[in-house]
């Protein structure tokens, strides 16, 4: 007898998806001209038609943001701005289930994650920054630090609403207004957030949302009325943005790619390490810039740990993202699936050994089984390039120094993990690692109080925590 879990799907009746969406400009939804479809990546069902924003839409949004900045938002005290943020945070909590279901439908990630991680963190970011709004004199940026003006924000598809929160909450708390473009494949929760702004009676034009593709993003980046760019996405696009704003007075924070090293020493707590490895690479289908995509194992425990990891991976439940028991959902887009498949094939071709547990993948939609590659070396493409999918490259090391050298031997530097029961070793390793966030005996833990950002080609600046405020403020006296 086996314990089969009967389907436990979360009801989608709570969400009301319109057949077509416009942009959200100056507090109102305005129809777009051209449209493109947004689909559920788990089924390829068309969910809605999204407007493709052009130059004129961006112009209008920037004008609205400028007007709101000069007429209302910059005139409000921090305390008053904070009230709006608290109100938004509370509405987000009240409508959490609606957001969770919509995010899962549009993105493909499991409802367990949207329900337990994404949406609670979204609310937490608004609550955290609401608290800062009237305390900016104490942010370590001098007396009366000033906002930049209009922030242009371009966010990715992996954590659509959470990345919106990372961008919008600090911008508003510090007195900036916003023109935000969600990712092409995941606009729906941003558009629902626009409704929350209306519900919270946020002054018109403080938050503007223009949907679209890369060309829409470029229009925002190049717009002369934008004072600050905040971008999360690929390193390639990040470099283009850096080139585009070179020579202008525009400020920028860039959160880019990563190839996080997860280092396991031979005295690690093995069972929890296995959980941490799984969470590090299979959380959100591996669509995580700070994923622990390189597992670097001390040779003495490599075989035992890989065996344990395989046993654990066989328990990963892949399937309907709306099912409350699903651990691994759909790949967000066909384009991303092709990229994962291409890099995994490169792993095969370069002689690494691929392993996946037996699992049936739906013929409809975009799916990729949880996968590990053993026998990977630093020279393999799958050890160097960001796969951004549920694919783990496993390397080994002999001495702690070698582990650090391998971990740092990458153009990226976003995240790293250290697993050991020896405190002194953890402290030593975290000092050597060139990564913006280093987790010890855990992985992929997020909190609005903690700054997040990259070394090297993983980005500029920090988001979250006190450090994240600096990106949205000019130093006062």
């Amino acid at each position: 007898m086996t314990f089969e879990y009967a389907p436990a799907p979360e009801s989608r009746s709570i969400v009301d998806i319109k057949p077509k969406y416009g942009h959200f400009i100056d507090g109102k939804f305005v129809p777009g001209k051209k449209h493109f479809a947004t689909i559920n990546p788990a089924t390829e069902e068309v969910l809605s038609q999204i407007s493709l924003g052009g130059q004129s839409d961006v112009d209008k949004a920037v004008q609205a943001a400028q007007k709101a900045y000069t007429k209302t938002w910059s005139k409000l005290s921090g305390k008053e701005r904070g009230k709006y943020l608290y109100r938004i945070a509370r509405i987000l909590q009240e409508r959490a289930r609606e957001f969770a279901v919509l995010e899962t439908l549009d993105n493909g990630k499991p409802i367990r994650e949207t329900r337990d991680i994404d949406i609670p963190l979204v609310a937490a970011h608004f609550f955290y920054h609401a608290g800062w709004a009237d305390k900016l004199d104490y942010a370590g940026l001098g007396k009366s630090p000033q906002p930049h003006g209009v922030a242009g924000q371009i966010i990715p598809w992996n954590f659509p609403l959470l990345m919106l929160a990372w961008k919008v909450a600090p911008a508003l708390a510090t007195g900036n207004t916003v023109v935000l473009k969600p990712a092409e494949t995941t606009s729906l929760t941003a558009l629902l957030f626009a409704q929350v702004c209306q519900q919270a009676e946020l002054p018109d034009g403080v938050v503007n949302i223009v949907t679209g593709d890369g060309s829409t993003g470029a229009a925002i980046v190049n717009h002369p009325g934008i004072h600050k760019i905040a971008f999360t996405g690929s390193t390639d696009v990040g470099k283009k943005i850096a080139r585009a704003i070179a020579g202008t007075s525009k400020k920028a924070t860039l959160e880019l790619g990563g190839k996080g090293a997860n280092i396991v020493f031979d005295d690690a707590p093995l069972d929890e390490t296995v959980e941490g490895i799984v969470n590090g690479i299979f959380f959100n289908q591996g669509h995580v810039c700070c994923a622990g995509s390189r597992l670097i194992l001390q040779e003495g425990i490599a075989d035992e740990l890989i065996e344990k990891l395989k046993v654990r991976m066989a328990k990963i439940r892949v399937g309907d993202p709306l099912d409350k028991n699903t651990d691994l959902g759909a790949i967000n887009s066909k384009e991303q699936l092709l990229k994962i498949q291409e890099l995994a094939s490169a792993g095969d071709a370069e002689g690494a050994q691929r392993w996946s547990p037996a699992c049936t993948l739906s013929a409809k939609g975009f799916w990729f089984a949880p996968t590990i590659f053993t026998g990977v070396t630093q020279a393999h493409r799958i050890a160097r390039e960001e796969i951004f999918g549920p694919v783990l490259s496993i390397l080994t090391f002999r001495t702690p120094q070698e582990a650090i050298e391998k971990a740092n031997n990458t153009p990226f530097g976003l995240s790293a993990g250290v697993w050991s029961e020896k405190g002194s070793r953890i402290l030593w390793a975290t000092q050597q690692l060139r990564a913006g966030v280093v987790w010890a005996n855990t992985f992929n833990k997020f909190d609005p109080t903690s700054p997040f950002g990259g070394y090297k080609e993983s980005g500029w600046g920090r988001e979250g925590g006190k450090h994240g405020l600096a990106a949205y403020l000019k130093e006062g006296k």
Partner: protein, 315 residues
């Protein structure tokens, strides 16, 4: 002497073996247990889980006020938990104090409950504070009276002061007393061992010494069978099976009062040790109030509404 070819039973060999076990990260273990608690078990799987849980209950009464009448009533309930529905399985065992074993065994046999074993708590339960002679005699008495299962307690004082050899020897001796006649369950009282590292060490100590089952608690100390404690014990039996090909059972006891809690335990088993453990042979739940909640939930699934508590019997 050699125990599974892993230790020779000496203090030093035990210390060496236990010291090389990987540690348990408290935060990580608790996070894993909490994540598994979010599993949503519905419809057919819930029905299966309820019946499976009923068959795993060690229906327990361990009170100073226990009487022959109380124990007989419990025996009737154990054999036919719901007198109005014969499809409800019997429970896994009856768990009583030593002096009630004969009464329970006789009554069970008389009412068609030969298949329900009697488990006796032993070795100066619950504290374990008695001489070895007394503990051996205690166990022998229970077996002679018809106990098919012995739930012994370890000497927590000896364990916490690092005298692993002493704890080990006691289990080995009680194992000898049990012989082929009784299954041996070893109770750790995890609420007194406190750390998950200790729970893991105690698990291996008991398994190496010959336990058939490892059991969390006496039910007299809180916290008892918390999900992370059970998780750590399930990892231990899983890994011990890998080492020895011998499957040891796990029995959480104490604090599992309703169907939700019981199903969470079954999910822990399923996703940690594996489905091979999902039988009364390898997983038991020590409980008293739990059985009635399982019966109520079972009725609700059949009838579509919650019956009055008067429809389940109170023994």
């Amino acid at each position: 002497m050699s125990f599974y070819g892993i230790v020779d039973g000496s203090e030093s060999s035990l210390k060496r073996f236990l010291a090389q076990l990987p540690g348990v990260d408290q935060v990580g273990a608790e996070a894993r247990a909490a994540m598994l608690a979010t599993r949503s078990i519905k419809t057919t799987s819930k029905r299966w889980a309820i019946d499976t849980a009923i068959s795993m209950v060690d229906l327990t009464t361990l009170e100073g006020a226990d009487t022959a009448g109380k124990v007989r009533a419990l025996c009737s309930k154990a054999v036919r938990p719901d007198p109005s529905d014969t499809t409800v399985p019997s429970v896994g065992a009856i768990c009583v104090y030593n002096d009630m074993v004969a009464i329970a065994r006789t009554h069970l046999d008389a009412i068609g409950g030969k298949h329900v074993p009697v488990a006796a708590v032993s070795t100066a339960f619950p504290s374990g504070r008695a001489s070895m002679e007394v503990k051996i005699q205690d166990t022998q008495d229970a077996i002679d009276a018809g106990a098919g299962e012995i739930d012994m307690v370890i000497d927590r004082g000896a364990f916490l002061s690092g005298q692993y050899g002493l704890v080990f020897d006691e289990i080995v001796k009680i194992r000898e007393v049990c012989g082929e006649r009784a299954h041996l369950k070893v109770i750790f009282e995890t609420g007194e061992l406190v750390t998950y590292d200790n729970v893991r060490k105690a698990s291996y100590l008991a398994m190496l010494a010959g336990a058939d089952f490892i059991k969390t608690s006496t039910g007299k100390v809180a916290p008892a069978a918390t999900p992370p404690v059970v998780l750590v014990m399930l990892e231990a039996v899983r890994d011990f099976y890998q080492m020895t090909e011998r499957r040891i059972g796990v029995k959480p006891a104490g604090g599992i009062r309703n169907t939700k809690d019981a199903i969470k335990q079954l999910v822990l088993v399923n996703e940690t040790a594996g489905p091979e453990w999902l039988t009364p042979e390898f997983f038991r739940i020590g409980a008293s109030a739990l059985l009635n909640d399982l019966l109520m939930q079972r009725m609700k699934m059949d009838d579509g509404y919650y019956a009055s508590p008067n429809y389940v019997t109170i023994d």
